[in-house]
Symmetry: C2
Subunit: 605 residues, 2 copies
């Protein structure tokens, strides 16, 4: 959603070094192709959401599609102008969270963070669900298996992202360009025809449940606002543009707004003219596609393209959430771990968490786009509003030339998005928006509690104060747990002798015979190190060693336990080795204060 750009290219807080990779950066047109995918793909579900809301007042009410769409496009225009100013003020990108933190203070930034997290999860769920709808429009056999289709898609995205992809903004260009051509093609060709080339889907009659009143119009408006998600992506990615960065990004933002507006109005005109009502399991966009291109290969190609683009839109969240999490971690609002976004294993946590949450949403809503949409747009609108409020604050503080006009633009934007957000929330509260109302404050609370904990720990560790000089202990004792005399024992004793003033080996054996054999071998080897033998009648390894170490730790020396590990060459043998050593290390670290050392011994096998 927000960071529609490659992880490698977009590092909000680390500007690339001067001259580094300038030619890899984006021109305005390239930026449009690379960054608009998320926003443009929402034409696949936005207009449909309007139609579905209006049809509650019968098919006659569909005439209201056009005015509702025009209201949404007006809001879009305000957003685009506002974001052009966001780009100028925050050329480092950073998104709603960074902006809110800088201009609005901690509470607002927590709100922004929480709503963004919710948003990432919903982007994945909604995009996949809408993608499944598009696929089922082309292949009706899938109509009753949308959930499995979505979960399969999610599994694919998760697998690809767990493995790590050298994601590139440029890879998104071709599908986005094709998508733009296809949708504009649908609009133009269909407008040129006197009547639809083909009608797909099975007819359903829609008796009017309610009259076309203000409430219904507001509902249709708020549902349709889901088409606006993603317009902030360009403002978050300014560092990815070629110089002059701000100008190019602003131009791209305006182009995106123009394109999205034209598409939305064009589709609304067609819906209005062709009286397109929800039909069987075919999406509104697919019906319009059939109306323009007939039901031959262009119909299938367009639907597949829509599916692909929606899948790619879902994928942007997998790139974006880790970035946000790393920002939060650096502000002590998430486990510090997530600050290490560049490390593969850490990144995987974020991917797995996102996948699980999205899967949960998909399963609970049965992958029904129309049940997901009420949850969707709210988070986005919180972000919109906070970004613009931040700018109003900025203008009032800085007071550059014409600041009043600028503040007015952003203020109007903020009022409009707040209004839209409130409409969304009130009309959709019982239909699912309450979930967001519950989830966002809970997330804020979590972030705040984590921050409080880290502050308290910093106090306890005396961060920022100079501690006393380090202890200089008299001596150290290194304890080496061993099972038998071998090259491994030789290697471990050697390392221990380099580290400790005194070294002692300890062996745990239940079997008196094995004890005797080991003692004998040890005496023959005679490495100049004492061997202590621990009896363990219950075949336990860990507890006897822990007890031994605790006894040894009583005399105040620095104790280290050196555990040699056999490292097999092939990963598949790992379960066969080391597990006992790891277990011992884990328990020693949990129950004693000694230094626990692991010494790898590499096998040729």
């Amino acid at each position: 959603m927000v960071y529609g750009l490659a992880r490698r290219e977009l590092r909000p807080k680390v500007p690339l070094r001067p001259g580094e990779g300038e030619k890899h950066r984006l021109t305005s047109l390239e930026g449009l192709a690379a960054l608009s995918l998320d926003a443009l793909s929402s034409v696949a579900y936005g207009p449909e959401a309007i139609v579905l809301a209006l049809v509650a007042a019968g098919t006659g009410a569909l005439t209201a599609t056009l005015p509702v769409t025009l209201a949404i496009v007006l809001l879009l225009a305000s957003l685009v102008v506002s974001y052009a100013q966001v780009i100028a003020v925050h050329p480092d990108g950073g998104g709603a969270y960074a902006v809110a933190k800088k201009d609005l203070g901690p509470a607002s930034s927590l709100l922004a963070a929480a709503s963004l997290v919710v948003d990432y999860v919903l982007t994945v769920a909604v995009s996949l669900a809408a993608g499944a709808d598009a696929l089922a429009s082309a292949f009706p056999a899938l109509a009753h298996d949308k959930l499995p289709v979505c979960l399969a898609g999610l599994a694919l995205l998760t697998a690809v992202n767990l493995r790590g992809i050298t994601e590139s903004a440029r890879a998104l260009m071709l599908p986005t360009a094709l998508f733009i051509v296809a949708i504009l093609g649908v609009v133009v060709v269909d407008l040129l025809r006197s009547h639809p080339a083909a009608v797909v889907g099975t007819y359903r009659s829609f008796p009017a449940h309610e009259s076309l009143g203000l409430l219904l119009l507001l509902k249709a408006f708020s549902s349709g606002c889901s088409a606006l998600t993603g317009v902030e992506a360009i403002a978050n990615a300014v560092p990815a543009f070629r110089t002059p960065r701000v100008k190019r990004a602003q131009r791209t933002e305006l182009m995106l707004g123009g394109l999205l507006g034209v598409m939305l109005v064009g589709l609304a005109v067609l819906i209005h003219r062709d009286r397109v009502a929800p039909r069987g399991d075919v999406t509104v966009l697919a019906q319009l596609t059939a109306g323009a291109f007939g039901t031959g290969w262009p119909y299938y190609a367009t639907n597949l393209l829509v599916t692909l683009v929606l899948g790619l839109a879902a994928n942007t969240s997998f790139g974006g959430l880790p970035v946000l999490m790393s920002l939060l971690a650096r502000d002590h609002r998430l486990p510090h771990l997530f600050g290490l976004r560049a490390e593969r294993p850490v990144y995987r946590y974020g991917v797995a968490a996102l996948a699980l949450l999205a899967a949960f949403l998909l399963v609970t809503t049965d992958a029904d786009t129309h049940r997901l949409i009420p949850l969707f747009a709210i988070g986005v609108f919180i972000g919109f509003t906070l970004s613009q409020l931040g700018l109003v604050r900025h203008w009032r503080r800085e007071r550059p030339a014409g600041w009043r006009r600028r503040a007015l633009i952003n203020g109007t934007g903020a009022v409009l998005t707040t209004l839209a957000g409130v409409i969304l929330l009130t009309t959709k509260f019982l239909e699912g928006a309450w979930v967001v109302v519950v989830a966002v404050p809970l997330l804020m609370l979590l972030f705040a509690r984590i921050q409080r904990y880290y502050t308290a720990v910093g106090e306890e560790l005396g961060l920022g104060r100079i501690p006393g000089p380090p202890d200089r202990r008299s001596a150290s004792l290194v304890i080496v747990p061993l099972g038998e005399v071998s090259k491994l024992a030789r290697y471990a004793i050697g390392a221990a002798l380099a580290l400790g003033d005194e070294v002692v080996a300890v062996a745990v054996h239940a079997d008196p015979e094995k004890q005797r054999a080991l003692r004998e071998a040890w005496d023959r080897w005679n490495p100049g190190v004492r061997l202590d033998m621990i009896d363990s009648p219950h075949h336990s390894l860990v507890q006897p060693v822990v007890d031994y170490v605790r006894r040894a730790a009583r005399d105040g020396r620095q104790i280290a336990v050196l555990i040699p590990e056999v490292e097999p060459r092939h990963r598949r043998y790992e379960i066969l080795q080391n597990q006992r050593g790891l277990l011992l290390a884990t328990v020693l670290r949990a129950r004693t204060d000694v230094v626990v050392c692991m010494l790898p011994y590499r096998l040729g096998l």
Copy 2:
């Protein structure tokens, strides 16, 4: 199944010290109550399996239930006499695996181990499925939710076993005793009635698909043999009996055989007399219960008791598999890890593996008892046959007085169980027995490969040979990765100074400002240790440290990296701390040969 006894009481290879816990040991009657649960609970599905096989020739064929049952009871008698001898020869218990290893050699012991593993998994699945059948007989509303019922039961067993239970053989006595009373009550009361007290379930007609030929009788016989599973439990648990151990265990084995035989024949007589055919979703045993007690509370109580006992029978596998796995691990046929059965985390692996496999079986067979039974008895019969073949070998080798007679008894048993096994396999091959035919050799192969790997590693490590003297390196360098100056840094540097000849601190920072601040704080602190600063423009922590360590390791000194870890007092804060250190430790261990040390620093928080 096999080790029906408590983990704490039964340690096959570690006899308790003399005098230890003799009064906690079992008398014959107590042993019967504690150890027969697994065998006796199979009357819940054994007779039903016979009826279901015979009814393929129409309800008239049910008259064959009695003769088929008599044949099975004959086999039971042979088994009981054989196992009385097993008890005398192997008073240490140990089961088919230990016996096969001692008397028959490696290949047979692998076969025994593989079939036992299959058996444990199937005991869990079959007992749960039969338990769900019994429950659904009492509460017909559950009839279409048997799979969820089974999975819920499995989840409960898994949770209880993951937490670890102080399992006691004595706890099993009361349910077993009640079960014996209930089943014998059904037999006696029903026999005394002239016609059934009540008829439950909905009538189904069974047209004859085939005639009642030899093949069908053999099928019924092999299905009914599932009633014999569990009779080996007593022989495996001889050490749990009070002295004279062998006598008491033998007496218990005979009592078990007598009881099981009486139950099976009694139920068969009733099935024969009342012409009990499979009816709707009510088990044969539940129909007989209704016939004896009517449909009042005794009916519900009996069904619930049967469910409970079947659940407890499933639970015995959770106690038994870890014991077998530890025996296999000590023979280098499973990862050595599993030899540490006494360690909670290790034990949990076994529990989780068993639960997953059982869940898989339940889901693929839709928790249908009759689809599981064909897989079930084969593993047991392999164990029966191997135990008795082992004894024949034993008698021929030792040649005590009367060895020919004894060998004849065990030989006859082996021939009968082989015959039954072959019948099972051939009549049930396509119905599921093939799964066992595939799984057992695969498991044997796995065990053999693991053993081969360990042998090769032992070669490489020079196990059993005396290595050269350990190296005495000239010096050691301890590297301490640090983020800031704090009490933690003081503690870590202190420990490092005790261990290393030279100590150096290293800090990774992306932000030049933080670098400067740290350098300044370090200089003010002045702990007498050099601080090296590593630049990391990509916010990566791990790779820069690894590179630094690799460079330091070039000069041949013993290198240790000491990673201080903040240990929070509460487990819930663990995700907030240490994760970076753990990640660094993992990567260092995988990619370098240095000693990696963890130093815990305990927080009050």
